[in-house]
């Protein structure tokens, strides 16, 4: 496909996404006409201008990039804004600002990073910043007894783990692209099995320790699962050694079991997962309300703005998917999952098509982080896995989440552009 036909396709899809977002906004506005209509209309126009600007920047500076990602991101943020407006007329103002900031950061990233490979050169600095961000809430956070994943600086609150995950992906990708051969040769023999040298297992153990540390010290089950899952998946992709996954999963299981036994916080999360109905008005309340939302929404949903998703605590952040379940029904949430599936599939496709190993691991790592996060939170609110407090990319309320996901897809788009651009130059 020629660059211009790629961009034309992007523009067509983007136009459809903008119209769908306007439609969703109009639907919630009709059901809940809380604020002045001129504000809604101007916000809708700013929204369109932002994404058209993204498109123009891609058209002129990164014409080879993957054309489907931006329209889908546009649709998700548009639907997310419509739902957050419907849930809280205060939060939607902040969310809108974050979408604006996210788009600007996205454009800057696209313009500034000419060659994503330069990032590999900063792997240790970026990795270190990531680590510092992860532990920052231990120093600044106040709650040792309940999860406190927020860094508060003045009136701004920020969730460092959202940005940290991106830095960690870059570090892993760079580290593993250098070391993967070393890690995939098993020299030591135990019985009939070849196992890797203990010194090469070092990084695995370090990240296991960090993940368990996240769980124990910060009580952040979601981030713990996310980081370790990411690390194991990338290790497997880089080395083709399923044994790492086996050992890693085993270690994580030990860590998680220990945590479940020792930490009441983790234990109660698991209890709720196993049987939310034993304490419907107490600990199980949130998850049960979420299940009620899906059940009450039925196949078609109550219609945007016509359900009662505000009965679910934290509905605009962790539980926004349940609000969609109630108001756009099974058919709607399956469509949302389909959007996530397309985004994940495109991410892996970019990884497959990229020639250099850093690029491959970077694209795969970013995709895996995105996929795990989406699976864990949708699975959490629908009782497939124990509930963990993480956001649903692009839909949930939350500045750090919006920003991090714009950067994540900015990087993926950069990788996709460079891969095709270089391939076309060779030919």
């Amino acid at each position: 496909m020629s660059p211009s036909s790629r961009r034309n396709r992007e523009l067509k899809l983007l136009t459809a996404s903008i119209f769908l977002s306007w439609l969703a906004l109009a639907a919630v506005y009709l059901a809940k006409p809380y604020i002045d209509m001129t504000i809604i209309i101007s916000a809708g126009l700013v929204f369109a201008v932002l994404y058209i600007s993204d498109h123009l920047i891609l058209r002129f500076f990164r014409p080879y990039s993957e054309p489907i990602l931006l329209p889908l991101i546009c649709l998700l943020t548009g639907l997310g804004l419509a739902m957050i407006y419907r849930l809280s007329q205060t939060l939607v103002i902040y969310q809108f600002l974050w979408v604006v900031i996210g788009n600007i950061v996205f454009m800057l990233l696209i313009l500034v990073v000419d060659d994503y490979r330069t990032l590999a050169g900063y792997k240790y600095s970026l990795g270190l910043i990531g680590l510092i961000l992860l532990v920052s809430t231990i120093r600044f956070g106040s709650g040792f007894f309940e999860p406190n994943l927020w860094l508060k600086i003045g009136p701004l609150s920020f969730q460092p783990s959202e940005i940290a995950k991106l830095l960690v992906v870059i570090f892993f990708a760079a580290y593993l692209s250098e070391k993967h051969e070393l890690l995939s040769i098993f020299t030591r023999q135990v019985g009939r099995l070849f196992v890797p040298d203990v010194k090469h297992l070092g990084p695995l153990l370090v990240f296991w320790a960090i993940s368990v540390g996240l769980l124990v010290i910060q009580k952040d089950l979601g981030a713990s699962l996310l980081f370790f899952g990411l690390f194991l998946t990338l290790l497997y992709i880089a080395t083709d050694r399923i044994l790492y996954v086996a050992i890693g999963s085993f270690l994580f299981l030990i860590g998680a079991t220990g945590a479940a036994l020792a930490l009441s916080y983790v234990n109660s999360r698991i209890q709720i997962w196993i049987n939310p109905w034993q304490d419907v008005s107490g600990k199980g309340y949130q998850l049960v309300q979420s299940l009620f939302a899906f059940g009450s929404g039925g196949f078609w949903g109550s219609g945007l703005g016509r359900g009662f998703p505000n009965l679910i605590p934290a509905v605009s952040t962790d539980f926004i998917f349940s609000a969609f379940g109630e108001e756009i029904g099974l058919i709607g949430v399956v469509a949302l999952i389909a959007i996530y599936i397309v985004l994940v599939a495109r991410g892996f496709k970019i990884a497959l098509k990229t020639d250099d190993e850093f690029g491959k691991l970077l694209a795969a790592g970013l995709t895996v982080v995105f996929a795990i996060q989406t699976f864990v939170i949708i699975g959490g609110v629908s009782r497939v896995v124990p509930l963990t407090g993480i956001t649903l990319p692009f839909l949930s309320y939350g500045g750090s989440s919006i920003l991090a996901n714009f950067i994540l897809f900015g990087l993926l788009i950069l990788v996709s552009n460079q891969q095709i651009e270089e391939a076309s130059q060779v030919s």
Partner: protein, 465 residues
């Protein structure tokens, strides 16, 4: 590395598929249970966000409406206790009763009359508003019925015999549906059961008011005519028991007509024995006993002993409305209105029209005939005999100058010595019946004394122009 990336993408595809399957299971399989779960307050929330329709009487008196508060709607009953048992209540805490319960989905606008109307409602922006009910009740007659029942235990049912429309339905003691949330504890524990609608749920022995049915059966079967002669000796021995007249009176030689006017038990026991168990019960059934009569609010079944298990003692007692015979006030009103309506039993109804929020009629209730119980000539004969009761017999208290009134008293024994429920069934004018009525006063003594004056007040209001 591509092989591993493909493997990983397949794993994620499977995981996302698992999400879809699980969500489908939650929605499609567990959905009904989740929606119905008592901890799921969505149905209540939704109800409170809808402006429930109004309920008005046939003469336009507003009986129930929903008033907006800051966040939701609150049900109000502007006339307080008026027609409380008919309207019922719609409480956030204690659910619903009466028409508020049986017409809930219509009052909420949830059960639209047709798909076209639904579309029209959408365009008219009447979403979020329920439909309104217009009742058959006449507020003035209803007020008189409730005023006269005050301080007593009992019930009044007045019907338009030609249509089955309920003109008045009262039950005492009563309650104010507007304050149900606060007064619930007291009224639900009250031994006099103010929450019970005695007019539809009260099961009483009909006593002598049942003789109307026995008479109709005997005349329809051509066993006797009004001038048939009987001999009353004060008591009638039937197998092991003795049937006595009230106050131990002895009437001697009487005609059938006089026996009804004076309510002679021994004569009606003889008529019952002549009819036999099967025929007696068959006619009783035709008048609406031993069946569930469809009605806008729950109506208890009136019943007799099974004909196959009756011996002569049972037959004799049944013919005078005792033994195992029990009737709701509504059933006795239906029976007497059948006589008034030339032998045709009409389906009773309370809701005359359903109107959309803008006041347009979207459904008008058609009157429906249940069955022809007796021939019109039989009905006319019984009608005439009942006029005699009011003119010459036990029912003189309901006489209205210038009008012919037909009636029958009843004094039902309830087991305890000397304690009786007083009944009065009537209709007027006898030559062109506008209203048929049944009144019962629990432990009120004789029907003429206790129920008669109430019947008189109501008939006067209904027919005197």
């Amino acid at each position: 590395m591509n092989k591993q990336i493909r493997t990983v993408s397949i794993v994620f595809a499977a995981l996302f598929l698992l999400l879809v399957l699980n969500l489908s299971y939650i929605v499609m399989v567990q959905g009904p249970d989740l929606r119905a779960n008592p901890a799921n307050t969505r149905a209540v929330e939704e109800e409170l966000s809808i402006q429930r329709g109004t309920i008005t009487s046939s003469d336009g008196v507003l009986l129930a409406e929903s008033r907006p508060t800051a966040t939701r709607f609150k049900r109000a009953y502007p006339k307080g206790e008026l027609a409380a048992h008919v309207i019922g209540y719609s409480s956030d805490k204690y659910q619903k009763a009466g028409l508020e319960q049986s017409y809930n989905s219509i009052l909420l606008g949830k059960e639209d009359i047709s798909f076209i109307d639904q579309l029209i409602n959408k365009f008219k922006k009447s979403e979020g508003k329920g439909n309104n009910l217009v009742l058959t009740l006449d507020s003035k007659i209803q007020e008189i019925a409730e005023r006269d029942l005050k301080g007593k235990k009992g019930a009044v049912v007045a019907l338009d015999p030609k249509t089955g429309a309920v003109i008045a339905m009262a039950s005492s003691p009563t309650y104010d549906p507007g304050t149900i949330d606060d007064s619930w504890k007291a009224i639900s524990a009250d031994p006099n059961a103010p929450l019970v609608n005695r007019a539809t749920q009260g099961k009483y022995p009909p006593g002598s008011s049942f003789k109307v049915i026995t008479s109709a059966a005997a005349i329809q079967e051509k066993l006797f005519d009004p001038s048939s002669q009987f001999t009353d000796e004060g008591t009638l021995e039937v197998q092991t028991t003795k049937i006595r007249n009230y106050y131990g009176k002895t009437f001697g030689e009487v005609t059938f007509r006089e026996a009804l006017e004076l309510s002679v038990n021994t004569v009606f026991a003889q008529i019952g024995l002549k009819l036999g168990a099967q025929r007696l019960v068959d006619y009783t059934d035709k008048f609406g006993f031993n069946e569930t009569i469809e009605f806008d609010i729950p109506l208890a079944e009136s019943s007799t002993k099974n004909a196959a298990t009756m011996d002569d003692v049972d037959v004799a007692w049944t013919a005078i409305g005792q033994a195992k015979t029990i009737a709701t006030p509504m059933e006795m009103a239906l029976a007497v209105s059948t006589i008034a309506n030339n032998g045709v039993l009409m389906k009773p109804y309370l809701v005359k029209e359903i109107r959309d929020p803008s006041g347009q009629i979207i459904k008008q209730i058609d009157t429906r005939q249940i069955r022809e119980v007796i021939s019109s000539s039989t009905a006319q004969t019984v009608n005439d005999m009942m006029v005699g009761v009011v003119e010459n017999g036990t029912g003189t208290v309901v006489q209205i100058p210038g009008y012919k009134v037909a009636g029958k008293t009843g004094t039902a024994e309830i087991g305890a010595e000397g304690v009786t429920h007083g009944w009065f069934v009537a209709f007027a004018p006898a030559d062109n019946p506008q209203i048929a009525i049944a009144v019962i006063i629990e432990q009120g003594g004789t029907g003429g004394e206790s129920a008669g004056p109430i019947v008189h007040d109501i008939l006067e209001q209904a027919i005197v122009k």
